[in-house]
Structure formats: C-alpha cells, structure tokens
Amino acid sequence: MLVMLVLSVLALAIANPSFRNPANLLNIIQQASMVGVIACGMQLMIISGGFDLSVGATAAASGCLAAYVSLQMGIAPGMVAGLAVGLGVGVINGSLIAKVGMNPFVATFGSQAVVTGVLYALTNARPIAPLPREWRELGFFNIGGLTFSSMVFIVVVVGLHLVLRYTRFGQHIYAVGSNKVGTSRAGVKVDRVIIATYAIGGLTAGIAGVMLTSITGVGSPQAGTTWALLSIAAVVIGGTPLTGGVGGISSAVVGIFALTVLNNAMTLYSISAFWQPAFMGLGVLFAVGYEASRQKRKA
C-alpha cells in the first residue's frame, strides 16, 4: 500500500503543478492531522483486537468542553479539560470491554451514542462561539508552513510508534490481540493492558477535538461524525487486519495519507463534492480488496 501511495503521489506531482506546490503538500499534512491522530490511537486498539466507534463523538465533546472552559478560565485549562474528557471516555470504554466483558462494537457504539446525546442536550447542538482569540492564534501558528496541528500529529505518530516498538506495554498490546487467554496465563494483566489501550485511544480523540477547536475557532457539537469509520478505514487501508495482533503505526499513517491525497486530488481536479464519497469508497474497496486477495493467495 505504501508503494501505491508513493506512486500516486509521484504521478500527481508530475501531472499537476498545483499538487506539487509545497503549500499544497503542507496542506495535505494539515488535512490529515486530525483524523490522523485518531487513526494512530485506533491503530493501537485494533492491534489489541478491538476498535472504538466513539472517537468522533468523543472528539466533538472534547472540542466543545475545551471551548466552554476556555470562555470561563482561559485556553490552557480548556485544553486540559478537553483532553481529560477523551481520556475519561477511553477509560470507560476500556473498562466496559475488559472488566464487564462487552464486545468492543457494542461498548463503543453505546458510549458514542451517550456522549453525542449528552453533548447535544447540553449545547442544544449549537456551536460554542465566539472563543478567545488565542484559539485562532494557535490554529494559525506555524513554523515554515508546518502548522500547530501538523506538529501535534507528528509528535503522536513518533510517540506511539516508539511505545509499540520498544516498550513492554507495546509488546503486551500485540500479545493481547494475538492470544488474550494465553497472555493472561503468562501472567500479563490483560485487563490493564486493554484499559490503557482504550485510554490512549480516547486521549487521541481528545487531542483531535482540541485541534479542531484551534483550527476552526469554534466548539462544534456536530463535528467528527465520520471520524471513527474514517480512522478504522485508514488503519485497514494501511494493511492492518481487524483480527488483532499485528500492524504498526505506519499502517495508520499510510492509510490516512492515502485517503487525504485522494481527497486532495479530487478537489484539485474539481470533482463534484457529491461524487467524492463514491470515489472515496471505491478507493477503500480497491485498497482493502487488493490486500485481502493477496492474503488469500498466501494462505
């Protein structure tokens, strides 16, 4: 999949001058950053043998709470509150799955609905604005065109990559996804691994929510409805099966850039916004179908 991504980026760069414009390339990183951060968290949850459907709702809630708190107390406490919501929902998801024994689909589908419902009720589903100026300043802050949210994305990618590759916790995420019972018999506290994994997943959703508020300057209750499925799609497109035990952060990164580049190219070639989801869907089917048929031939 990485090869396909590189080839399409090269082809687009040769064929289209606007695509290879550095500003556009930085723009792609910026566009990829929010769902990209979530996809990195999703990657961990998928390696552990689960996934999280609540990340979009959690991101919206985090962004809104961050906005609300920033009106009362300033932007820094707002950010902390936003991240805490993400972490909290993640811990609840992880506990429902590990301690109560619910399956990840039901647990996170339920928490998604609860979070969305509470958020709509408290905000009347209306955006929280106007916000302190600092939000937009943060959103526009950049070093050589690399925006704040792009930098956060890079930090999350590198950080979670190191966790997966070099730490005992990372090792245990793979082991739990590969053989939960066997890993528990080997003396690993499986429940803790699962809860910590979903906590990190929730935290990445919280980070994305805060990023969204900084980019738009508004707390949006209705944001993020497609993010859970998009981030799962990114991980799968990047070559990680949903069965657990395998994969790396590179999958999430390759997948999210594949989706973003496709999106960017459709915009550059002025493909109607109504047609874009269809092409996006075809892209997903093609990428995942290619991977699936390759696995089938290998087996």
Binding site: R168, Y174, S178, R185, A186, G187, V188
Partner: protein, 262 residues
C-alpha cells in the same frame, strides 16, 4: 475405603519431601463432582503420568494445580509448605509451570517475545513505560532453547510460522526457563507427528535428567509407559490407583481406566 486403598499403594521408597503434594483436592461445579478427594504427590525429578477417560477429572486437576481455578476443598503443598493458588501467577511463583494443550502462545509474536511474555527483560523505565532489552532476551532465549534442545530457525521468527513440534518446543522452553521445579504438560504430543513426538519425549527426559519433575497428562499409553516413573489413573473424578510404571503394564492401566479393576 477409597482413601485407605490409595494410601496403601503409596509406598514411596525415598524420604525426600515431594515437590508437590495434593491432599484431598476436590472441585464441585454445583452438584457435579469433577474431582473428589484427590491425593497425589510428585517427587523431584520424577515423571508422573495422569491417565483416564474424558471427563475423569484430569483437566480439573490441571486447572487447580496451574492456578486457573481454585479447588473447592483440599490443600496443595509445595516442598512441604501449604500454598493457595488464586491465579496462574501464584502457581508460577511457587515453581509450577504449565504447558497447556493449546500451548497458549501468541502466534503473531516472535519466539523471543513468547519466551519472555510476562517476564520481559527491561533496559530502563521511562515514565510509566518499561523499555525492552531485546538484546539481553535474545541471548538468553538462544541459551534456553539450546539447553532444552529445541530447534527453531531463529528467535526473531514469528511463532505462527513454526511447525507444531517447534511450537510445542517453544511452549516447553518457556515453562522450563525459569528455574521451575515442576512442569505440567497437558497432552503435549496430541497434535504432533511421529518424529516430532519423539523429539518432545527427548525434551521431557532431558528435563528429568536436570531434576525437573514433570506431570504428564496423556492418552498415549506407549508414551506413558516409556516416560513415566508412576501413573495415577482417574475415573469419574477420583484417583483409582497409583502405579509404579516399571511394575505395571498397559493391560493393568487400561483395566483401571475402564473400571474393570479398582
């Protein structure tokens, strides 16, 4: 009556303290008595067979001794000291390792990671995160596999790509690698071919030579006759006999299993 008959058979010649002693172990699931009043012991370096039909209580015994399930009643003593196993970790810290019939390996992980799963060597701690010392683990893994006599292509190979015999070897090496005094093996060769089975037999005899006791749960009569010093036969949740293998025969064991005797 049953108690007395078992005790009378139990004439150990040595006076060494057994590695493991189980006294009156019972397990009831509601009204079902999966295991009733089981007494058994295993001496250091002894290979002891457990035979019996399906549902005779063998698996229940394994679950209790490995710490997977608590007994309803009875006592376990390790080297004379009473122990309570609430989790597999308790059993392991008392020196009992278990090689499960399903092997309990993480198929997607490499040999090294499986050998050290739950007992990883750590380079240093960074915040709450422990950084793995893979180099140290790789050196120890190679030593360990060599000591036990397990041949795998490399310690960085994924377990899912190994043969059945190699996987069994990894699972046994994992159990044997921690100074354990007793290894419980649940049907270690049920899924293996002839040559691989022979190899596992060699590994078991090698462990015995190193003074490690093995509790071998098996349906394979030839294997039990060939490897064990003693055999306990289970029937309907009870131990019906404790035989010295050298003074017994397949016919006698079978007659206890089927109920023609005992």
């Amino acid at each position: 009556m049953h108690q007395v008959s078992v005790a009378s058979l139990d004439h150990s010649k040595t006076v060494t303290t057994p590695i493991l002693e189980a006294i009156g172990l019972s397990k009831h699931y509601g009204g079902i008595h999966a295991l009733s009043d089981a007494d058994l012991h295993i001496n250091p370096g002894e290979v002891v067979g457990i035979m019996g039909d399906n549902g005779a209580g063998k698996s229940t015994l394994v679950k209790i001794l490995s710490g997977a399930q608590p007994a309803t009643a009875g006592q376990i003593r390790i080297s004379g000291a009473p122990q309570t196993f609430k989790t597999p970790t308790d059993a392991r810290s008392a020196g009992i390792e278990t090689v499960y019939q399903d092997l309990s390996l993480a198929e997607h992980l490499d040999v090294l990671s499986n050998l050290f799963l739950g007992r990883e060597e750590v380079l240093f701690k960074f915040g709450g995160l422990s950084i793995l010392n893979r180099r140290k683990m790789a050196i120890r893994a190679k030593e360990l596999l060599g000591e036990i006599g397990v041949n795998v292509p490399g310690v960085n190979d994924v377990v899912g790509g190994l043969s059945g015999g190699q996987r069994q070897g990894v699972a046994i090496a994992r159990a044997a690698g921690w100074g354990s005094q007793l290894i419980i093996m649940d049907e270690p060769t049920a899924a293996l071919g002839l040559q691989e089975t022979q190899h596992v037999h060699d590994i078991i005899l090698g462990l015995k030579a190193r003074g490690v006791a093995v509790l071998l749960v098996s349906h394979n009569m030839q294997q039990v006759l060939q490897l064990t010093d003693r055999v306990y036969v289970f029937r309907r949740g009870k131990i019906v006999c404790n035989l010295e293998t050298a003074n017994s025969s397949a016919d006698e064991i079978i007659s206890y299993i089927t109920g023609a005797k005992g």
